[in-house]
């Protein structure tokens, strides 16, 4: 579309600098902590120090009497506020397990909010919070999901749900197997831990009867809807605003107890209420994730062909069920077969409450866990059949000719329909780039010289672009500046730049002239936000469609003014000109916008404004794919693992800004390595959390993170979206646990040694000493 002479920037596929960056490198960002309102109060939460117990009393009198304190609430003060509901709407079978904004009758994890203190400043609020006296009768804590379930409020057990998915005849497949290969694999408890803690400000404008919440993120529209349901308010009277957000990774931006509290308090106390989470709270209050124990077996033929998989898993949900319901269980059981054929399959997830911080989605939910389990199993199959691990994978990969491949599984209400991709072909490219055969030889040689070095491979498919639909609005003003209004959200992944590039491509303008609005519920009624790698796929396509409509309108108006036909015209750098004679008569987009103004005589009976709104519906999610290769070195004496080399291959379909996609992959990988080797929420037998500081929850520094090589291909644009885009937010993390584990096995020469993450030096040392 662009001509060689134009200097406009930001076409699809260009690694342009981000629109987001200038305020962020100059200290002008507006994160929630940076926002203040006159007369605001500061909220501090009093949290349960008990993992499980019956609340006998909460004495707030001393705290209330503390100078500077305006109010102290317990659950009795907000009796009318229902528990926090599910994002997808009410769900009677799970309703019992929801969390109240302030604990009612029971506390169920250390960190469970019990009281809220509202004071003039954060220091005073914290002082007063220490004066709240909590009388709790402790109950036994349940800290393992595979221990027998306990009673839950006399109405159910802590096994809140059993999620089962599958297809085909298991019994037959297993009875005809050459061999049954079985493993147990555990993924540790870890989570997103963005660098910015959570925060929220509630503000109520009584003059307009509008409740506002600042500090929203990820899914502001969905959270508005839930708040409306809970507080019985119309959508027009609740607005959520997303500012800058210091990372999200799936956990930031869900509707949490504190969000509800600032809103209710703002209305009842008549003053803005600000809450900023501290790091210690964050590590015990924001969603945890991942922790699962799988027992899985495969029915295999002699050549490694898998006839069936049978999986049973225990998901450690923590104290309550939060906004996601059983989403992680659904995604785990729905994606476990990965890129392989797997003719017969069953997975049963025991979705169980324990007395830990509630869990939910974290970047690549369900896939990161199931990829670890499945790929560990693939390696075990290779070991037991004495086959090459790569060969076993190849034997089972869905072939290009078989695509699109339908699987009778449900992932978030959508059946799994692999869109075309050459899984084996990408593997070939990856192995070639990594000089696989030479690498094997070189590592073998080093092992002969006494080093513990090894390589591991993991393959996966991802999912992105969860539907069903999204819309976008575009408005061009008289100066030719363009505003794109979306219901998307941005937690740092470059959403504004991506949307601007898409819009620029269709509208023939420089991406820097485009302002992208996201996360403002008062600007657009609907929005999918940013989760499940859907922003670029879904919102991006809606933006593209809208930009095309606006382009058509601009050309049609311009054609009349320039006395030609629309198809004789093109737009370059915001100027509409004749295709044949680019330097001939022309109009700027701004001029056309003026011509379409409500009062403009040239408008005729066209709808006013150079503007548009279009929607995009997607029938199935898209399924990008890739693999990870890790090369590690183990210090056999200390148990330390050093990642010498890392490689990620990924087919993105079509990339909008490769620099940003690589950024997503590298950043995801850092979190993957964190999960593989460092990060873990551990608990004492009594249910006390042991990882509530950054000295205990080990986020890797740059010393621990390799600089990976990346092979980003665009071989198979998605057939589900006109632009061919697939998501990229999660692929950096999905294969990491499995690849690192496999590499360690190889390095220490003990196949199947690593069945649990994170692989701490102590755990590895123990494995090595037991073997010695």
């Amino acid at each position: 579309m662009a001509t060689a002479t134009n200097k406009m920037l930001g076409h699809l596929g260009d690694s342009v600098e981000r629109l987001e960056d200038p305020p962020l490198v100059t200290g002008k960002g507006r994160f929630v902590g940076d926002i203040n309102f006159p007369h605001q109060l500061h909220m501090r939460i009093v949290r349960s120090p008990y993992a499980h117990g019956k609340i006998k009393s909460v004495d707030t009198s001393e705290a209330k009497a503390h100078p500077g304190v305006v109010a102290v609430w317990t659950t009795d003060d907000i009796e009318d506020v229902p528990p926090i509901d599910f994002r997808e709407g009410s769900n009677p079978t799970l309703a019992l397990f929801r969390q109240y904004a302030l604990a009612r009758e029971l506390v169920r994890y250390v960190g469970d909010p019990v009281a809220a203190v509202f004071a003039e400043d954060p220091y005073t609020a914290e002082d007063a919070s220490e004066l709240v006296v909590l009388d709790v009768e402790p109950l036994p804590a349940l800290i393992r999901a595979d221990d027998p379930p306990q009673d839950f409020k006399g109405q159910a057990t802590t096994e809140a749900a059993v999620v089962e998915q599958g297809y085909g005849d298991l019994e037959e497949a297993f009875s005809s197997a050459y061999k049954v290969v079985e493993i147990e694999a555990k993924v540790g408890r870890h989570t997103g831990v963005p660098m910015e803690c959570r925060g929220a400000i509630g503000r109520y404008d009584a003059s307009r009867d509008v409740l506002e919440m600042y500090g929203a993120a990820k899914v502001p529209h969905r959270n508005r809807d839930t708040l409306c349901r809970m507080l019985n308010r119309p959508a027009s009277g609740v607005h959520l605003f997303e500012g800058h957000t210091g990372g999200g990774f799936g956990i930031r931006g869900e509707l949490y107890p504190e969000d509800v509290l600032v809103c209710v308090a703002a209305m009842r106390l008549g003053r803005p209420v600000k809450w900023i989470e501290d790091r210690q709270e964050h590590l015990m209050a924001a969603n945890h994730s991942r922790q699962q124990i799988h027992k899985i077996r495969a029915a295999v033929e002699e050549d490694g062909n898998i006839l069936a998989l049978d999986d049973e898993l225990y998901l450690d949900q923590g104290g309550y069920i939060r906004t996601h319901g059983t989403r992680v269980a659904n995604m785990t059981t729905g994606t476990l077969p990965g890129p392989y054929r797997i003719p017969v399959y069953r997975s049963i997830c025991h979705f169980r409450l324990t007395n830990k911080t509630p869990a939910a989605t974290y970047r690549s939910p369900g896939r990161c866990e199931s990829t670890f389990v499945r790929e560990r199993l693939m390696d075990e199959i290779a070991t037991e059949l004495d086959l090459d691990p790569v060969a076993v994978r190849r034997r089972n990969l869905i072939a290009l000719e078989e695509m699109p491949w339908h699987r009778d599984l449900d992932v978030l209400g959508d059946s799994v329909e692999h869109d075309p991709g050459d899984y084996a072909g990408l593997l070939d490219q990856g192995l070639e780039q990594m000089h696989w055969d030479e690498l094997q030889k070189e590592l073998a040689q080093r092992r002969d010289n006494g080093e513990m070095v090894g390589v591991g491979l993991s393959m996966f498919f991802e999912k992105s672009g969860l539907g069903p639909s999204d819309g976008a609005k575009i408005f061009v003003d008289g100066t030719g500046h363009i505003e794109v209004v979306t219901g998307g959200a941005s937690l740092g992944q470059g959403f504004e730049t991506a949307m601007a590039q898409i819009c620029a491509e269709d509208l023939g303008t420089d991406y820097r002239r485009i302002r992208v609005v996201h996360g403002q519920t008062n600007r657009i009624d609907y929005g999918v936000g940013a989760h499940a790698s859907r922003a670029t796929v879904l919102t991006g396509t809606a933006v593209s469609k809208t930009a095309q409509a606006v382009r058509a309108k601009a050309l049609e108006m311009a054609a009349e003014l320039l006395q030609t036909t629309p198809d004789a015209l093109d737009i370059t750098d915001g100027v509409i000109h004749s295709k044949d004679n680019p330097s001939g008569p022309s109009l700027t987009l701004g001029e056309v916008a003026e011509a379409l103004a409500p009062t403009s005589p040239s408008r005729g009976d066209r709808t006013p404004y150079l503007a548009g709104e279009e929607w995009f519906n997607i029938d199935h999610q898209t399924y990008p794919y890739g693999h990870h290769i890790a090369v590690v070195k183990v210090d056999g004496e200390t148990g330390e693992v050093e990642i010498e080399k890392y490689f990620i291959a990924y087919d993105i379909g079509r990339s909008i800004n490769p620099m940003m996609i690589e950024g997503q992959l590298v950043g995801g990988l850092a979190q993957g390595i964190g999960g593989a080797l460092y990060e873990e929420f551990t608990y004492s037998e009594a249910g006390d959390p042991q990882s509530v500081t950054f000295a205990d929850y080990l986020i890797p520094t740059l010393h621990e993170i390799p600089n990976p090589e990346i092979l980003l291909t665009e071989d198979f644009p998605s057939i589900r979206t006109p632009l061919g885009i697939k998501g990229a937010g999660e692929a950096g993390i999905t294969g990491a646990l499995a690849a690192v584990a496999a590499a360690i096995d190889d390095a220490i020469g003990i196949p199947g040694a690593i069945r649990e993450t994170p692989i701490s030096p102590q755990r590895l040392k123990k494995i090595l000493s037991e073997r010695a």
């Binding site: 200290g27 803690c197 740092g492 950024g663």
Partner: protein, 160 residues
């Protein structure tokens, strides 16, 4: 509440007089009482480095100092890095090398890097890695941060 102390400090060349509660951290004083919110808090216990500022040109964790201790000191924060409209070479390098995603850790990294490059303009790649491992970033995986700081170092050196 304890007795307030009157202090005077400069932030990016501007003078501030603040009556502080001694327990207010320097970070809180800079952010909440001087209105310079570019300095961020990521942990308030010294590990993440998001709060890094220059105190008399030396990078320090502003969450681990009390504001009262900055009396008479010269503080530099991310807001003072650019020279008017002109970006600092580090700011430019961060944008060019995609060294930020959410940008929350960015001010801390920029001030840490500014401090070290001013003190040791010839710092080796390896020593630079050691210094940059002081701060945490959850988004970028660090590779581009390292690239950006090296690029800025080379550019600043070339510019003399």
């Amino acid at each position: 509440m304890s007795e307030r102390k009157d202090i005077a400090l400069t932030i990016n060349g501007a003078d501030y007089e603040v009556s502080v509660d001694p327990r207010w951290t320097l970070a809180d004083v800079i952010r909440d009482h001087c209105g310079q919110t570019g300095t961020h808090l990521g942990c308030e216990h010294g590990i993440c480095g998001a709060c890094t500022v220059l105190v008399d040109d030396v990078p320090m964790r502003s969450c681990l100092m009390f504001g009262v201790q900055a009396d008479g000191k010269k503080i530099r924060t991310v807001e003072g890095l650019a020279d008017g409209e002109e970006y600092h070479p580090l700011q430019k390098a961060f944008m060019e090398n995609h060294a930020l995603q959410c940008g929350y850790c960015t001010p801390g990294f920029l001030m840490l890097a500014t401090g070290i490059l001013e003190a040791e303009p010839d710092i080796s790649d390896e020593d630079l890695n050691d210094v940059l491992s002081s701060n945490l970033c959850r988004c970028t995986g660090y590779a581009n941060i390292v690239k950006a700081v090296r690029a800025a170092r080379d550019e600043m050196k070339a510019a003399g």
